[in-house]
Symmetry: C2
Subunit: 335 residues, 2 copies
Amino acid sequence: MVKITDVARHAGVSPSTVSYALSGKRPISAETRERIEASIRELGYRPHAGARALASSRSNVLALVVPFRSGIHVPVVMQFAVSVVTTARQHDHDVLLLTQEEGEEGLRRVADTALVDALIVMDVQLHDARLPLLRALDRPSVLIGFPAEPAGLTCIDLDFAAAGGACVTHLAELGHRCVALVGSPPEVYLRRTGFAQRVTQGFTAAADERGLTSTVHPCEATPAAAQAMAERLLREHPELTGVVVHNEPVVQPLIEAFRRLGLRVPEDLSVVAICPDELAEQAPLPISSVAVPTARIGARAVELLMRKLDGLEVPEATMLPPWLTRRATTAPRGG
Amino acid sequence: MVKITDVARHAGVSPSTVSYALSGKRPISAETRERIEASIRELGYRPHAGARALASSRSNVLALVVPFRSGIHVPVVMQFAVSVVTTARQHDHDVLLLTQEEGEEGLRRVADTALVDALIVMDVQLHDARLPLLRALDRPSVLIGFPAEPAGLTCIDLDFAAAGGACVTHLAELGHRCVALVGSPPEVYLRRTGFAQRVTQGFTAAADERGLTSTVHPCEATPAAAQAMAERLLREHPELTGVVVHNEPVVQPLIEAFRRLGLRVPEDLSVVAICPDELAEQAPLPISSVAVPTARIGARAVELLMRKLDGLEVPEATMLPPWLTRRATTAPRGG
DNA sequence: TGATCAAGTCGAATCGCTTCGACCACGAGA
DNA sequence: TCTCGTGGTCGAAGCGATTCGACTTGATCA
């Protein structure tokens, strides 16, 4: 293995000069720097991560805690993960993957052993058991999702309440008077996951404000559940003309179920989803939707973390505004 | 931060004794060990990962390279990842997440900087550009999937050829005489990904052997493509009664498309899939399938790696035998 | 009664890098 | 002319573990 002293000898300088040339923390003459860079290339030098971490007390590794429980949509998690990794690399950091299962002990472990410099936590519950730990930890963290009490933490997410509201507004402007929200599976509500509740709040508030009739229905993430839900909605709310879906796996099956029940989409029934754009775009009939901007959220989370690592202040709450794209599944009521 | 010397002082022993008590590499009297463990608990000591890596030249971190390209089924990737992380933790290792995008340079980087001890690579192509590098690297690796030339590497995967064959055998034993394979998207074949080709080979060979009429059809991973595929199959092969699907997102849509075209499943048409059991089980009509045992493969990959890290010999090729579970989508021909 | 050996412990070297303080040379300002 | 600051470099002291050799002690065996 070639080490920094080898490079130094080869370039005719001291090890510290090589280090400074690499880090840029002290000025090095252009001439010397070039000589060093040439030696590095020639010898194929790579700084030893462990040694670097020991000496600098920076590992240049971020922890990412991913959920893998029922009720969460796996492709969305993966999109977050990929965008976190990609962005981290742009900032010269790597990403250590932790599962929710490891729990608090896992977080403490990677933080206390200095294996990671900072943490990103996904799928935060309203009263998440990990919050006290994250607040107490000596390492910075960013939560994707909002707990009930975000004070003292850095959180980022789509503004799900506004997203729910935007869907209602869209339907209301198209003349719809009776709307329903088909939401996440019941266990997600039981776990008291923030985004599910916020969508409901935004949805209900906007409907009330505009005087629409509205109902909310959690729904299992299976085609069979979608079918049952469609039947139930038509039975219980015959005057229903607008549906908001916040449950990725169910969007398409639900539309198909309504069709089977004899309703045309969007002529008889408008459907608007809250889901990643990819999913909305590549449906057979492109779906009007509020985007869940996974890539932006992941990238932003990393950037917030980098700023915190640099000792800079960052906002405690970052709520990305919703953006509704009208596609083929919404139309004016009765037309 | 509390370090090993603090523990040593507190327990009245030397640092090396603490180290040996922790690693078990030299005998330590029970009494001393208990004293040390008490001190560790009391002081809340955690060995510094970087220091440990530097001194022992072991980081206790594994790299996992995940694909995120079109044509691969994201939930399957996630299942692998979770099982790799879980198993790695059981062996006191962590997992660093790399994306395919980082390419060879990424592999070289984490290996050369000693950031990781070993690598797991998913989604291996038949003539993967990374193979020479993996062979040359001084760190052990395991591939999930088989390249054309696996010599000198350690590979593990489901025996996809046998899986294709098992599906045909199952259909043949039910009396079917004309079968079709609906496979992965065309780009997967174009990339020359091993498993796609192997399924085809096994499928065709088994059909030939038993004198069945057979055809093979790559298929985009969308509901619309599934619909088109169903129509085309019925048009071009009116005598078709058995379909093998190796394309997760399309399984369910394809069955629905056949139904819409007036075929009853399984009475008129038997369908057998190659997919994770979860997907087959939770379909509205449970699907007869050969399992893709993601959890087992991931766990096994880690165990192979651990053995290699311990300097033990491991088999170059590990092919898990297919296991077909008959569920509700296959029935005797004409029955 | 030594010689031998294993168990149990210690001290010191080492892993490869970063960083701090010091030093030199040189141009600018007084 | 003397200082002062600054660009550029070096040497040495860590960072916090692991590991190797050596030492003590007591038991075992001839």
